[in-house]
Amino acid sequence: VGTYVFWRLAQSVVVVFGVVTIVFLIMNLSGDPARLLMPQEASEQDIRDFRHANGLDRPLPEQYVYYMSRAVKADFGDSLWQQGRKAMSLVVERYPATLALGLFSFALIVLIATPLGIISALKPYSFADNVAATIALLGQSMPSFWLGIMLILLFAVTLHVLPSQGEGLSGPDLPHLILPGLTLAAPGIARITRLVRSQMLDVLGEQYVLTARSKGLRERTVILKHALKNAAIPLVTILGLDIGNILAGAVITETVFAWRGVGYLAYQALQKLDFPLVMADVYALSITFVLVNLAVDLLYGVLDPRIRLA
């Protein structure tokens, strides 16, 4: 197992390295941050000074090598937009907000999608199944910026039961989590519901389910212990990938709800062409994603002992 974890970690480093390289190239194609950040009235000398101070006047390969040598130490230099602040420290500061929102969304996906999927599978094409299918269709087809606004209109403007925006991580501020969490979870809920349904349908036709039933086990035990556990492997894979979707969705959702996490920070950094900040942000997000997927791979072994030796 130790060797396996080591190799997976080595692969992860290559992935993060690749991501940072791609982002570096794309950012450099998108224009001159000196022009954008300096006021319209700035003199040419001011703009040249700014470029020099931030290393933007050096050749691209040199900038790349410099960036990479610092990226190893998770240091991307100072933010161009928030002068005098380390890009990475800004990301670290905002990270807990995104972590809380992401975990909450993830919990919503698991807690809503699993029962919905099971209900659908137990009685396919019934009324309950059709309701679940409609929920899944809506969740998958509504863009998050639109769904976010609609939820605000319903729960904040019309019903006055939830706050319209802002973040809250503790105590009385916790209701702030609900609307952005739901918005972020919607596509995941849709995907996972359909997946649970199809997996359960497959498994419920298996012989061991029949065996379990014929042993006279309670239906609840048959479903939750025998069927669901066997249906879980592909579920865990997709749930792991959904963390990626949650991280990506955070950019739009956090901006709509003024939730000050790394997604909203990425949006601001992109708007200001703040290279170091974008790099630091993407770096943190890609490491999160890679670690989650590593965790998922290790989880396979727990769920299915046959995979343990891989």
């Binding site: 954008l36 006021p39 001011d46 976010g148 319209s164 802002g166």
Partner: protein
């Protein structure tokens, strides 16, 4: 499959769902009751909450003297005063920390200072504070430096302390604009001992001014700014005792937050928000003509825009009134040139070019272009209300007089690159917010030959195409004329000349739409400033 199980579970699930929704609703009610949400039912809210769409404090923090962003200015001016201020109608200069002033000689303006004023930290306001504050931004050793100074403040040479409450502000050349210059955001008076001791790092994270509010909390970049009324304010004390400023970037969320009573005042709304906010019963919208004026430069260095007739023809043929009515839903005020009525030097006699397609065609014929021509319109999207839609409408309207216009939409970075590489022609989008409320501040930086010849390191750029010795002379004369009457006459002539030469496609003043809770009394201003001391609870 066991059907009984499925049905039972789904029913139970449904009941749980209903239970959960009811629970959530109850939770909301309870929270409202406890006052956990800002709006405990009935009575005045404990603080007034303003929602901004843009975050400008993150770049340079709270230092008022190096900012150039209007949204940052609009927040920090509540804490910092200048010697003088611009009146609410933006037409005259009024006392602020100076009570009276007189010109001692062409280079020297003398100010009597308000006595007994204290900074938020208890320091005395006096002549030394003025000298320190005005000389800080013009000192080349101050870091970080405000680049706006290179253009606007370097005419100020130094400040002389005459006595404890009298100062002379000395300029390098006679400066008719000195009062307006001193009303500028970067000319705010800051507590000198605090500033000298802490330096720029301190000024960036704290605010010690003489204004009606003091900042009691700033959550850092992107965070809320909380202000409390300054009890020792020299003027009428503010009636709203506590203000919280939040950043909510998404316009639809701002509008919803206002309707759900999560915020009390917000800005930069869209025409589409008006109905929803008006119909909500909890808030209203108020509109003002903005100080910000968009227009299109004609690239006069490339034919056929070197011909005056062509430029006039496009102004006659663009149907700007129709565009204001139909595209902007009335949210724009047509302009004859590119100054607002409250700007000093604005020519009140000029009438905007009317829509006259026949006249436009005649002018094109005179220019030898009876069959029209092909050109481009360069623009960006999303900076101002319906900018893209307006550009497309202009292209369509000009098609009717035989000018085939190709829309060239680019993101702002790409647009800037093309602009700097001088790769744009035809019509080029521009917009200007004149912060001195004086014609000089529009025409000199945009239309004097020196602007064309020095911009972009002397390499020039597409968006500074104009230069004309006749117009140059008019601007230069007005720049040093100290007599107001004579100066106005000079600008009347200059604007009439500009109107006839038509170096731009004129458009309109933008309309700013504010959303205001029914709990708040307030009339917004045209200069985008939000003074909380002008607000009160209804």
């Amino acid at each position: 499959m066991n059907s009984a199980f499925g049905v039972r579970t789904s029913r139970r699930g449904l009941l749980r769902l209903i239970g959960a929704s009811a629970g959530m609703a109850a939770l909301g009610t309870v929270l409202n009751g406890c006052g956990a949400l800002p709006f405990a039912g009935g009575g005045k809210p404990s603080e007034l909450i303003m929602g901004y769409g843009v975050d400008q404090l993150s770049t340079t923090g709270l230092d008022p003297q190096i900012h150039s962003g209007t949204a940052a200015e609009s927040q920090l001016r509540n804490c910092y005063d200048c010697l003088v201020q611009i009146s609410k109608d933006l037409k005259t200069v009024e006392p602020q920390l100076a009570t009276e002033w007189k010109r001692v000689d062409p280079l020297k303006m003398q100010f009597k200072l308000r006595e007994g004023v204290k900074f938020h930290n208890g320091e005395d306001f006096d002549a030394e504070a003025v000298k320190f504050s005005i000389e800080r931004p013009i000192n080349p050793n101050t870091k970080p430096r405000s680049s706006i100074y290179a253009t606007y403040a370097n005419i100020i040479d130094h400040v002389d302390v005459v006595d404890k409450y009298t100062v002379n502000v000395v300029t390098k050349k006679p400066d008719p604009l000195i009062l307006r210059r001193l009303s500028g955001f970067n000319m705010t008076i800051i507590a000198p001992k605090w500033a000298a001791a802490g330096g720029s790092d301190k000024i960036k994270v704290e605010a010690q001014g003489t204004g009606a509010y003091r900042i009691v909390e700033w959550g850092g970049p992107g965070g809320d700014v909380v202000m409390e009324a300054n009890d020792k304010y020299w003027g009428q004390p503010a009636t709203v005792k506590r203000v919280r400023v939040k950043i909510i970037p998404e316009q639809a969320t701002r509008s919803a937050a206002l309707r759900s009573k999560d915020i009390h005042v917000t800005h930069a709304l869209w025409p589409e928000d008006e109905g929803a906010i008006g119909g909500s019963g909890v808030a209203i919208t108020k509109k003002v003509a903005s100080n910000r004026i968009p227009f299109y430069f004609f690239e006069v260095r490339k034919p056929p825009f070197d011909k005056k007739e062509v430029r006039q023809a496009l102004n006659y043929g663009s149907n700007m009134e129709g565009i204001i009515k139909n595209v902007l839903q009335g949210n724009g005020t047509r302009t004859a040139c590119i100054t607002a009525p409250w700007h000093f030097g604005h020519n009140q006699e000029l009438k905007p070019y009317p829509y006259d397609p026949q006249k436009a065609k005649d002018l094109l014929k005179q220019a030898g272009l009876a069959d029209g021509f092909e050109t481009n319109i360069w623009f960006i999207q999303g900076r101002y209300m319906k900018d893209k839609e307006v550009a497309e409408a202009i292209a369509q309207e000009l098609g009717k007089i035989g000018v085939k216009v190709k829309p060239q939409l680019n993101d702002s970075t790409k647009n800037t690159q093309l602009d700097l590489a001088k790769q744009q022609d035809g019509m080029i989008f521009a917009s200007w917010g004149n912060w001195m409320f004086d014609a000089d501040n529009t025409y000199f930086p945009l239309f004097h030959s020196s602007a064309r010849d020095t911009i972009n390191d002397g390499k020039g750029q597409s968006s500074r195409p104009y230069g004309d010795p006749v117009f140059d002379k008019m601007l230069e004369d007005a720049r040093v004329e100290l007599d107001e009457g004579k100066r106005q006459a000079l600008y009347d002539r200059a604007e009439a000349y500009f109107y006839d030469q038509a170096p731009v496609l004129t458009q309109y003043q933008l309309t700013d739409i504010y959303g205001i809770s029914k709990l708040v009394n307030w009339d917004p201003r045209s200069d985008e400033m939000v003074w909380y001391r002008e607000m009160s609870w209804a």
